[in-house]
């Protein structure tokens, strides 16, 4: 439902001193587009090196592993964080990356699309939430997560710690490549965007008390990225 739009927009047009516009506006060809030049010809390995450096700036732990070493890498992080209970997305990539046994462990829960309150409760109680990254932005050290029914918003938010598994193929230079892809999704006929697209850059933090940085406020208090070589 849309309420009071006509009068509101009529007034806006009047203030602008012209008839109202509800169609026919084209975006200009902008004079400059510096965003496309950032790390333009970087290889995946160069992007990976930048991501690794950026992790220092955003207080995020970093690990790199092969396809086969991924479960071990997760275990190392769990041990370091002294964490036991885990919740993961219900995402076919866990299977594709050989983590279906991991998901069957006793202390590991999987986001359950059928069970609302239970899924949220599990996420709220879990020590660690684990998701894959859909796009990974080297410049800022950001993982981009697109929600769907198996990919709950709460998994990367409610647990005390957060692990993002980053397939190396998801690496791109910066936000520009991700927003371009999202823009294309919008233009594709009939599609609606995922209800929640998160750009996550490290653990939550605040500088609201005397501008002192405190890591860990409402979201996770510590985060680790595990980059995996694609098969």
């Amino acid at each position: 439902m849309i309420q009071h739009r006509e009068t509101f927009l009529e007034n806006v047009a009047k203030q602008l001193g012209r008839p109202g516009r509800t169609s026919g506006v084209k975006r200009p060809v902008y004079q400059k587009s510096p965003q496309h030049n950032v790390m333009k010809d970087h290889s995946k390995d160069e992007l990976l090196a930048i991501l690794k450096d950026q992790c220092l700036a955003i207080h995020t732990d970093f690990k790199q592993t092969t396809h086969d070493g991924i479960e071990k890498a997760i275990d190392e992080v769990l041990e370091e964080y002294k964490a036991s209970s885990v919740i993961t997305w219900n995402d076919p990539r866990f299977d594709a990356y050989g983590l279906s046994d991991f998901q069957k462990r006793e202390n590991v829960d999987v986001w359950d699309a059928g069970k609302e309150s239970r899924s949220i409760e599990l996420a709220e109680r879990a020590d660690v939430g684990i998701t894959f990254s859909d796009y990974t932005l080297a410049e800022s050290g950001t993982v981009v997560l697109l929600s769907n029914k198996g990919k709950g918003r709460a998994v990367s938010l409610l647990p005390t710690y957060y692990i993002a598994i980053i397939p190396k193929s998801t690496l791109v230079p910066r936000m520009t490549q991700a927003t371009d892809a999202i823009h294309k999704m919008v233009e594709a006929e009939g599609a609606r965007l995922p209800s929640c697209i998160n750009f996550i850059t490290g653990p939550s933090n605040s500088a609201d008390i005397e501008l002192n940085l405190v890591v860990g406020v409402h979201g996770p208090i510590r985060a680790c990225y595990i980059v995996v070589e694609d098969r």
Binding site: I2, T22, R192, I209
Partner: protein, 477 residues
């Protein structure tokens, strides 16, 4: 809290600000650190000026076609099952929000940081229908439990408080028992607020940018509270100033990048969240109902005027962080929830000159704000335009106005020496426009005097203020 904060006069507020040593030190060091971080973030990009030009172009195009983009935005929100309410005034917006709360039988509302809900006094409106409203941004929460102390900075609202004061507030109001260590204080607030999030019926958020092409809203935060407010409660209400729209995700990229770098010197903040409609079929978290309230509340009056570019503002506070006047008097002196240069420009536009006629004079016109602004709003030129308008409104007291304010300021502000040539004509125009001023011996003498004025960068506003006070004391008012 309405836009105007506090009752004392401008002079009393300034007086108080100048005397508050902790506050002034805190502001000074905050400004230094934020400026440094922004400088670094600019450098890293390499071609900052190109990014600024692009940002300006985006904002100008969007505002020129704002009815088109708001129309498109509302179509797309509605297509995705959301509700859109266009609110001409603060009262309209509050009436709608109250109606939603009552329909949902809401008892508890959790809020993430939002300037526009402050501007329209939404909390009070919701409280009047029996809702408890809880601020979840750490800084806002601190202010709220401290008997609604007003914010003093648009990015770091509790900047004027030190950690001991915060500890004492927590002890007194919430039974806190630990130290003034920020880590411990934050952990305590995290635990208290987590409970509130889980119990809240409605989450209210502001909106950094809304994307017209997809009907999405975006939230830029570090703490994660905006994510919680849009993940747990069953109903989400997002309130946005009508100017806060961008055409597509491509423009969102640019403006979010500029906002993060300019506000806190980060490449991106911890969370940039793009939300489209309510939850989808099959989702088990996220709101079941989504309401977008688009607020005018005086903004449309600015369209089509010489101040239109003020609506380009992306609320990064970079202008505040470089302002020498803000440094000396602090955020409360402005008497508005929008302090600093952008506040001095915007507040009189939204609320009229009557209550805020001093604000355009709370500036040395050094142009640092204009240079800092990521979307190139000519802030100091707008302040001069305000002064001219105020002077024209009050022709009878014109000479007094300039002798007391404008000219007192000019005469004692060596910063004017640093003014680039492009700003000089703007400075002079109000004086040269009016014959009586141009030929008046007092003010012109002041202007020529400053050529030999001793350089004292740090003290310039205080000097100006003292100078103005002593003139007042001399019986000219």
């Amino acid at each position: 809290m309405p836009m105007k904060i506090g009752d004392p006069s401008f002079d009393t507020r300034v007086e108080k600000g100048l005397k508050d040593t902790f506050m002034r030190q805190a502001v000074t060091s905050a400004q230094e650190r934020l400026k440094l971080a922004k400088g670094k973030a600019e450098e890293e990009l390499g071609n900052w000026e190109e990014w600024r030009s692009l940002s300006e172009e985006i904002r100008a195009h969007t505002l020129e076609n704002i009815d088109y983009y708001l129309h498109q935005l509302s179509e797309n929100v509605s297509k995705n099952g959301g509700h859109v309410f266009f609110a001409q005034t603060a009262e309209d917006a509050n009436a709608y929000i109250k109606e939603v709360a009552q329909k949902k039988n809401a008892k508890k509302v959790i809020k993430s940081k939002s300037m526009v809900t402050e501007e329209i006094s939404m909390n009070e409106a919701l409280e009047s229908v029996g809702c408890e409203v809880i601020e979840s941004d750490l800084g806002e929460y601190i202010l709220q439990i401290d008997d609604h102390d007003p914010p003093s900075h648009i990015v770091a609202p509790a900047l004027h408080k030190n950690k001991e004061q915060i500890r004492d507030t927590f002890i007194e109001k919430k039974g806190y028992t630990k130290s003034s260590n920020p880590q411990e204080l934050t952990l305590f607030a995290r635990e208290l607020l987590r409970k509130e999030f889980l119990e809240a019926d409605i989450g209210v958020t502001g909106c950094n940018f809304a994307v017209a092409e997809s009907g999405s809203i975006s939230l830029v935060t570090n703490e994660g509270n905006a994510r919680l407010a849009t993940t747990l409660p069953k109903t989400q209400i997002t309130v946005m100033g009508m100017e806060r729209v961008v055409p597509t995700w491509e423009e969102l990229d640019i403006l979010v990048s500029m906002l993060c770098r300019s506000a806190v010197g980060q490449k991106l903040t911890s969370y940039v969240t793009g939300l489209t409609g309510a939850r989808e079929e099959g989702d088990v978290d996220g709101p079941e109902e989504f309401h977008l309230v688009i607020v005018d509340n005086g903004r449309s009056k600015i369209l089509g005027t010489e101040f239109q570019a003020a609506l380009h503002c992306i609320r990064c506070a970079a202008c505040i962080n470089v302002c020498p006047v803000y440094r000396h008097v602090g955020g409360h002196s402005y008497g508005s929830i929008y302090p600093g240069p952008i506040g001095a420009v915007l507040t009189p536009l939204l609320e009229g000159y009557d209550d805020h006629k001093e604000l355009p004079y709370a500036s040395t016109l050094c142009a640092a704000c204009t240079d800092a602004c990521p979307v190139k709003i000519p802030l100091h030129e707008m302040l001069v335009k305000h002064r001219r308008n105020i002077a024209e409104e009050k022709r009878t007291t014109l000479s007094e106005t300039f002798a007391m304010k404008g000219f007192g300021l000019v005469a004692s502000s060596p910063a004017l020496f640093n003014m680039s040539t492009r700003t000089a004509p703007f400075m002079l125009s109000p004086f040269t426009k009016d014959g009586s001023i141009k030929n008046g011996p007092g003010p012109m003498k002041g202007w020529t005097d400053i050529r030999d004025f001793p350089e004292s960068k740090k003290e310039r506003f205080r000097d100006w203020y003292k100078h103005r006070e002593s003139k007042k004391g001399g019986g000219s008012k």
